[in-house]
């Protein structure tokens, strides 16, 4: 099951809630303000590291580019909208809002 998270982790607890319920191995895709979570060297660096031990983590490149985020945490995969669609082909979707 693919989980999407679209809220900034600084203002909102959506990412942390999502992680608490996602099964190990479930891919998590960060979109919109959700992508701020994976900017390198921010306060969530260690959380991102922990997530990556159990779950593949993706971030939507167009949203990263829009926000000027070029340095991202290592281990995170970027995808474009078609890559988003590919993930949806492979998994049912759980959109955390």
């Amino acid at each position: 099951m693919l989980h999407t998270v679209n809220k900034s982790p600084f203002g909102n607890n959506t990412l942390e809630t999502c992680i608490r319920f996602a099964a190990p191995g479930d891919p998590i895709l960060l979109i919109e303000d959700g992508v701020y979570a994976v900017q390198a060297a921010n306060r969530f660096a260690s959380l991102i590291e922990t997530i990556l031990k159990t779950n593949p983590l993706f971030a939507l490149q167009p949203d990263l580019t829009a926000r000027g985020i070029s340095m991202i945490a290592s281990g995170v995969t970027t995808v474009d909208y078609e890559g988003f669609v590919e993930l949806v082909e492979q998994h049912r979707v759980n959109s955390w809002l």
Binding site: T4, N6, I31, E32, D33, P62, D80, Y81, E82, F84, V85, E86, V88, E89, R92, V93, S95, L97
Partner: protein, 118 residues
């Protein structure tokens, strides 16, 4: 694949409608069918034809109208949510209908995937 989309936030104020649109375009590109877009909560505001954004900005309701026409995707706004927010048949774009949640139930069940943007 057949895909249903649920949009739960209004245009411009939230990126939800933009992401839904970009996703829908990419899904078509990869050979899928976008069966329907259902609008709930403030999402119903996406289909007012009265919107008139600055010229250098995207026109969200026209964009959905064109997408609907081109890809034969129906756009539905929930009737109860629409009434609360002043969306009525008179001001709705071509390609969109105001309808009940029964329609959404069908969309959620008949498609291979349901994605929510909000």
């Amino acid at each position: 694949m057949n895909i249903g989309i649920l949009v739960k936030e209004g245009p411009y104020n939230h990126q939800a409608s933009d992401t839904a649109y970009m996703f829908a375009v990419a899904a078509i590109k990869r050979g899928h069918r976008v069966d329907a877009v259902f609008l709930y909560n403030d999402g119903v505001l996406n289909v007012t034809k009265l919107m008139d954004p600055p010229q250098d900005d995207r026109h969200i309701s026209s964009r959905w109208a064109q997408f609907s026409l081109k890809h034969n995707t129906r756009i539905y706004a929930c009737v109860v949510a629409s009434k609360r927010r002043g969306i009525s048949d008179d001001i709705v774009i071509e390609g969109a209908d105001i309808t009940g949640l029964g329609t959404f139930t069908e969309i959620a069940t008949r498609n291979d995937r349901l994605l929510t943007f909000g």
